[in-house]
């Protein structure tokens, strides 16, 4: 028994070692595609929120956009003297679980936190947790304005506007005429709003929108699925000149599809939610543009909302608009700074 268990054990350890060697699991991506270690959190003990404990119930780990929101939020709260813990909506198997958000909120209530911020994955799924926080008298805030949740305050994402900005900018790159389409994603409120905006933006830019975004979705939210969907779009619309996609992975898939279909030099592609990977794609000419919505600023705006509530201001379903981002093309890509260089990323604890 021992003899034949040794080999799998060794293989497992080797795989783990390999993985650990090459990762930035304790760091953040830098401009060169490498990683740098996270800094220790520095809480200003004299800040206006000194001694306050804020729980952030985030979506999933390892998502650059969510990391940005969390880092912006933590930095600003720490500056005000509050400590922030970040937990995720994952189940015991580490899989995304809509119900887990309620559990995290209830754990926060039991710990006696001073405020809870959450990134709802689904408005209905998180509603019991929101109601529990309200019943406990703990201010609760949400990123996004979803599903009529009764919260202390919410940060509304300018999704339709970013879609419109992306569509209009891409139409300009494409010459303002010809056919364009939109590759959508999983039907969440913010993606639907962004897609609506993209259609309007493309049309405002002079393009004729073809295809049905409701039936052109990357339902697996990964690059290979986007590649398959984009292939169908390219085939159905051989005269397509522009394609807006909803996020970074979809851009990677659409670029691969365009290349395989031999239309890479004919169709321009733009993403409504870009990451550093997309900037590299703009630099190598495979992507026309990327909308950078600067999650750090979103996080800071949310911290401002929390501070107002904890400073005694009476807030009830207060809605704050998140700031607009910026479109990067080959003309201004040199100005782009990765989020990790705009602000020092810190270690955010998972408990108090």
């Amino acid at each position: 028994m021992k003899r034949f268990l040794t080999a799998p054990l060794l293989a497992g350890v080797t795989a783990l070692a390999l993985a650990a060697c090459g990762t930035g699991s304790t760091g953040s991506a830098d401009a060169a595609g490498g990683t740098k270690p996270l800094a220790e959190a520095s809480v200003d003990a004299d800040g206006a929120l000194a001694g306050k404990k804020i729980l952030y119930v985030d979506g999933v780990p390892g998502n650059a956009l969510l990391d940005g929101l969390a880092q912006g939020l933590a930095a600003e709260l720490n500056k005000q003297g509050a400590t922030m813990a970040r937990v995720f909506q994952l189940n015991a198997q580490n899989q995304i679980d809509l119900a887990a958000g309620n559990q995290r909120i209830n754990e926060g209530i039991a710990q006696g936190v001073d405020a809870i911020v959450t990134f709802p994955l689904d408005a209905n799924a998180i509603r019991p947790g929101v109601e529990a926080a309200n019943a406990a008298g703990i201010p609760i805030f949400t990123f996004q304005d979803l599903g009529g949740l009764d919260v202390t305050g919410k940060l509304k994402f300018p999704d339709e506007q970013r879609g419109a900005d992306t569509g209009e900018a891409l139409a300009e790159v494409a010459g303002g005429q010809g056919e364009a389409s939109v590759l959508s994603g999983i039907p969440t409120d913010n993606i639907e709003a962004a897609v609506r905006g993209a259609v309007k933006g493309l049309e405002a830019g002079g393009m004729k929108v073809v295809g049905d975004p409701d039936n052109q979705r990357n339902l697996k939210d990964d690059a290979p699925e986007a590649q398959r969907v984009a292939q169908t779009i390219f085939q159905k619309f051989p005269n397509l000149r522009a394609l807006v996609v909803y996020n970074s992975a979809s851009a990677t898939g659409a670029i691969a599809a365009a290349r395989q279909a031999g239309v890479a030099d004919k169709v321009v592609i733009g993403t409504m939610a870009g990451e550093d990977t997309n900037i590299a794609q703009i630099e190598d000419g495979t992507l026309a543009l990327s909308y950078d919505f600067n999650g750090l600023d979103y996080g800071k705006a949310m911290a401002g909302l929390v501070q107002r509530a904890l400073s005694g201001e009476e807030l009830d379903n207060e809605v704050v608009e998140a700031p607009l981002g910026q479109v990067y093309t080959k003309d201004n890509v040199g100005d782009y700074k990765p989020w990790t260089e705009r602000q020092t990323y810190i270690k955010i604890p998972s408990g108090f």
Binding site: F4, A7, A11, T23, Q93, P224, K236
Partner: protein, 329 residues
């Protein structure tokens, strides 16, 4: 007493119940006719299907899935299933990202990545299932969760561009108008076909799948056959991973997930039985062609995307049900 067996001793191995006998060939001929008929019926309505370049793109896109399905066929024929092939496909992309980051030569990157996949298949899956007597579902389910997790660790959760000229040309090149993934899939198909149909090992795979105990008594090293089958399956998933990475130009944290079921659907549609001992690589190829034609018809005809998975699932049930009823009759 332990029975060991050299490759020259296999004359005592019983003939497989069904490998590629006349009835199987007839069945596959019928299946091929159905695929062709579907394609021809759709042609007048979907002009896209008349485009040679489009069809070539489709074949290139699904070449990776075909390779994965070929490996899965070995495992299913010997009675089993590797749930982790999609995860392995993505994981190999992560390994390539690591190795390229270490500035290793492209050739070495490919060899090391495939060696890692093969190693996991033989030394983890095969060994734990054959020697450790662990259930194949449990072992590969573990890999199904471990490999994507490791991949996310390697990639720090987000997709990373990978610049590898060799993989780029493997996935995106063409020779005499034929896309290289199609050529690679054809070569893999040829090698696997010879292995399964023209070697002692192939006969042993069918023998083990038909009756494990009888095969053991006949002198087949059953454990070795099982281990090699899981190794072949993982290796094929690794090759599929290289093609996917090359096509995307990036390692993606969720790459490959879900493809294991698509590949398995092709295997089962092709007539390979979960109970083992029966099935052919040609059947798997036809099963995948059927799915490709069906998917294209559904997508190009504008069927609501949410329904496509349901249609594919129902088609699988119907096809396997008809096959079962025919065999029981």
């Amino acid at each position: 007493m332990t029975i060991t067996q050299s490759t020259t001793e296999t004359s005592s191995v019983p003939e497989p119940v069904v490998a590629s006998g006349p009835s199987t060939l007839k069945q596959q001929g019928l299946f091929f006719a159905i695929v062709v008929a579907m394609f021809l019926v759709a042609l007048p309505f979907l002009p896209q299907l008349r485009s040679g370049p489009y069809l070539m793109v489709q074949l290139a896109t699904y070449s990776a899935v075909l390779i994965m399905a070929l490996g899965q066929t070995f495992v299913v024929v010997q009675v089993g299933f590797d749930l982790s092939t999609g995860a392995m496909q993505g994981f190999v992309g992560g390994l390539v990202f690591l190795f390229v980051g270490w500035h290793l030569a492209d050739g070495l990157v490919i060899v090391l990545s495939l060696a890692a996949a093969l190693g996991i298949g033989v030394l983890v899956h095969g060994l734990l299932i054959a020697k450790g007597k662990m259930n194949f579902f449990i072992v590969t389910l573990a890999s199904f969760t471990i490999l994507p997790s490791l991949l996310r660790v390697i990639l720090d959760g987000s997709s990373k561009p990978v610049h590898s000229p060799a993989l780029d040309s493997l996935a995106n090149g063409s020779v005499l108008g034929i896309r290289t993934p199609v050529i690679i899939a054809a070569v893999v198909f040829g090698l696997m076909w010879v292995l399964l149909n023209r070697t002692v090992f192939g006969r042993n795979v069918y023998a083990v799948g038909s009756n494990r105990e009888a095969a053991r008594l006949a002198g087949v090293n059953v454990d070795r056959v099982t281990m090699i089958c899981y190794g072949i399956c993982a290796l094929c998933a690794g090759i599929a991973g290289l093609l996917l990475l090359g096509a995307l130009g990036a390692a993606d944290p969720s790459a490959g997930l879900g493809n294991e079921f698509f590949a398995l659907t092709a295997v089962l549609l092709g007539g390979t039985r979960f109970s083992g001992g029966q099935g052919t690589l040609l059947g798997t190829l036809l099963g995948l062609l059927f799915l490709i034609v069906l998917s294209n018809i559904l997508l190009l005809s504008g069927m609501p995307q949410f329904w496509i998975g349901a249609v594919q699932g129902v088609v699988l049930l119907i096809a396997v049900g008809i096959d079962r009823a025919r065999r029981d009759a």
